[in-house]
Symmetry: C2
Subunit: 498 residues, 2 copies
């Protein structure tokens, strides 16, 4: 094999992997957006079949020889080819330690579990889903023991979403947050709540749909390459930079839930829509890591979307669809949207209490993966931790342990990304403001300069860099969570006059 | 290989083929129901990749040896296994004659052509799509010459949709229709038109959507296993009996267009929903042929759906969604819905003039496949034939040559199935009436006995029999198109008082 042949083979291999990933991803998307519930088992079978083919292709002798050859000739590769080789070798190494039949059975399990979780949540029936989660936790614990026998099993999970992330890092990160946020929440509570009941006035779904389309266009999502659908739990999926899907969930008496969900998923989508052309069809055509991804989505949702300047800008649009909004000033709407108050649902939580929701999940995942908590005891433990961390009583599992979709398809280890991403975002805004007049952009609804900065510093690179490298490069300094705590301190002190 | 091993391998091979077909089918469905237009090229690439894998699996040495072994041991196989072997051997034989790269390129071409046709139709821009159709016709002519060098190329196309169908059969069938229908249309014209303008009163899309759901439930489609979406051109697709999708297209000033489209696609869907459990996951889990499929869809749409008894039954529901309907009697609605009048759009044509639309397409396909008509001359020829056969002037290509989706994804040879299917249906109703009180069922909206009869005589068998065999078995006699011409004669003489 010549080097040129090997490079061509590397590109071809990735195109094939991409085709399987596209088809499998579409099966998942179809199942949660419109596919009939009765077809779940067969979708799971097809999904598992494609996963098996993907496994064979990724771990086969041919791929192994090719990647070894490329690795031996690293110095002759472009930066992108070298990173592709590195990532694919890591995946091959890890996957080969899991027997294919177990891997395929796990994919099918996740696909079916996702469908069962949807029903279980809508029926508020934990017991219906419990056996699936039991199998998922058991499988992940087994995979961790096979792939990284010397590593803590939860560290294995964290690394799947954020290369190199460990509990040690999370523990000290969450300790900083807890130290600063918990007393701040206390002071907010003493200050008395701002009025926000008027946000619960009815806004018909058709009006909310119109708002979604308007927001998507405003933030710069091209309708030729992106769509919106509805699901139980909002998410973003991307098949290439030319095909990015977001979803939302409409509540007629809580229109801001979908509104901020659209901006959040819009942040994910913008990222995927702006990955470099030259990376398309390769394993680098994805966000760098889940925390970097969440740093974009939570940045658009909160730091931009819940800012005073942006709320002022969209106020006339909101007043159009809701007479209750029109009856209040932009400043009142800004405060209502940003009221901080311990609550039950993570995706609808305010910026200040949000991380407590993540810490609950982090504790639970850790003890599940360590075998210290059994799945059957999870709902009770969930409720206890919500009382302890947020001081709220969980009325039922639909508003408790069943609320998020992540665990239903095996996403244990994902949640810390949200908190980390939020903190990355607070540090990024400072750096961005040196180049872009962000306030002026938000006040005039002009996202092009913001998106251009993100493209230049984050989006275009895809997975070319490791998360830590990319962040260092974009920030010009190391990650520091006090940017985030300072941001929260300033914002909420000002809102509540502390 | 023992016989038992071979039987297990046969089932496993079909499961793999089914997984690829499921994924590829979903890509198509996604592209026409909601996928962003900008993703068409990549959907086409993934579709082509999966088609390539399907090709390799269907034509590989392993499949060949397995099927030969099973064929040599035919007498030891169940009826289903023998038919599976027969169909898969036919496919292998045919596919092997087409080089894989040409086959894959053709699949990608069809996928892209379908997307371009969608735009071209909505923009009324024939030239945009012309080069795609040119390539499709060229590819089909080449495939015909490779697969069946001694056969007429259009006969090759017809056989793809209706095993054994030839131009000879079509010619004599259409001759019978022409002889009977053309004078009947003349007499209808002399009799003067029934009033039907009131059908064009506005019915909002939301009301039509509600009607669709009501109709689907009424005719017996289980929502756990079937869904509806909207597309430019309505169709049905099925991934298994647990996952059947229909689509429709709403026009606010022509609610009966979607209404009968839903019943038509509902007929296709009911067929797929009732194929035998034991055939699922095999190549027999499909409708027997396209004409048999259309015999079901056009049966539900017309013979049942446009009958006086059924219109009386649904009249209160229609009166609810349209004040214009409420202002007329059920009998007036029945006549308006069945008014016969030469028109431009096939899918909205009445039962009497419908076959003329098919004959136009049959003539065009024949001359295209024979190389006697060039694609660039197709629109002009289309318009000429519409004038000649139906006496109407085609105002633009959107209402002319661009109206149907079939050719856009390679479906040349499909159209005659509609006419044949209509004729099969007219013969089937007589046989069914011996066992089921169809009039009473329709008058009371009770579809269970009708569906049970269809299941017993047609649906459950899937592709177990050849179309001719199945029909003979269900009818107890050979196909005879005069049942159809008599049916039309009786129905329209009565409506127009001839």
């Amino acid at each position: 094999m010549t080097l040129d042949e090997a490079k061509t083979a590397l590109a071809a291999l990735q195109k094939s992997l991409h085709a399987y990933t596209h088809a499998a991803g579409l099966l998942y998307y179809d199942g949660v957006t419109g596919g009939p519930s009765g077809g779940a088992r067969e979708r799971g079978e097809t999904f598992a079949f494609l996963s098996g083919e993907l496994y064979k292709l990724s771990t086969g002798v041919q791929a192994g020889e090719l990647l070894d050859f490329l690795d031996e000739n690293k110095q002759e590769l472009t930066q992108a080819e070298a990173r592709q080789t590195e990532l694919m070798r890591k995946q091959l190494r890890e996957l080969r330690k899991i027997p294919m039949d177990e891997y395929v059975a796990y994919q099918q399990l996740c696909s079916e579990s996702s469908a069962v979780w949807h029903s279980a949540k809508s029926k508020n029936d934990w017991l219906m889903w419990q056996p699936y989660l039991e199998k998922i936790v058991a499988a992940l614990r087994r995979f961790a023991s096979l792939v990284e026998p010397d590593k803590d099993p939860y560290d294995y999970c964290l690394d799947q979403y954020e290369e190199g992330l460990t509990q040690q890092t999370c523990d000290s990160f969450f300790a900083v947050l807890k130290e600063k946020i918990v007393p701040l929440i206390g002071r907010v509570k003493e200050a008395g709540q701002v009025p926000y009941d008027f946000l619960a006035a009815e806004v018909p779904t058709a009006k909310q749909e119109e708002l979604s389309r308007w927001l998507m266009s405003l933030i710069g999502m091209d309708p030729a390459y992106s769509t919106i659908a509805t699901t139980e739990h909002p998410f973003t999926t991307s098949f290439s930079k030319h095909d990015v899907r977001i979803t939302t969930h409409y509540y007629e008496h809580d229109f801001t839930a979908s509104m901020f969900s659209v901006i959040h998923e819009g942040g994910h989508a913008l990222y995927e829509l702006h990955i470099g052309d030259e990376l398309q069809g390769t394993v680098l055509a994805e966000g760098c890591s889940m925390a970097i991804h969440e740093s974009q989505s939570r940045f658009y949702e909160n730091i931009l979307g819940r800012s005073r300047a942006f709320i002022s800008f969209i106020y006339p649009k909101l007043a159009q669809i809701s007479p209750a909004i029109a009856a209040h000033t932009p400043e009142e709407v800004y405060k209502a949207i940003n009221r901080a108050e311990p609550s039950l649902i993570r995706t609808e939580a305010d910026e200040l209490t949000y991380c407590l929701h993540i810490m609950v999940r982090y504790e639970l995942e850790k003890t599940l993966m360590h075998g210290e908590l059994e799945v059957k005891d999870l709902p009770a433990r969930w409720d206890t931790l919500y009382k302890e961390y947020l001081g709220v009583d969980v009325p039922d599992d639909r508003h408790g342990v069943l609320q998020d979709s992540h665990w239903s398809d095996g996403g244990i280890g994902y949640f810390p990304s949200y908190a980390l991403g939020s903190a990355y975002g607070a540090q990024l805004i400072g750096r961005m403001k040196r180049d872009v007049d962000v306030e002026r952009c938000l006040a005039s609804g002009e996202f092009a300069p913001i998106n251009a900065w993100e493209t230049e510093h984050i989006w275009k690179y895809g997975r070319l860099y490791k998360p830590g490298e990319l962040l260092q490069k974009a920030l010009g300094e190391s990650f520091d969570p006090t940017y985030y705590t300072n941001y929260l301190e300033k914002k909420f002190s000002e809102i509540y006059g502390l």
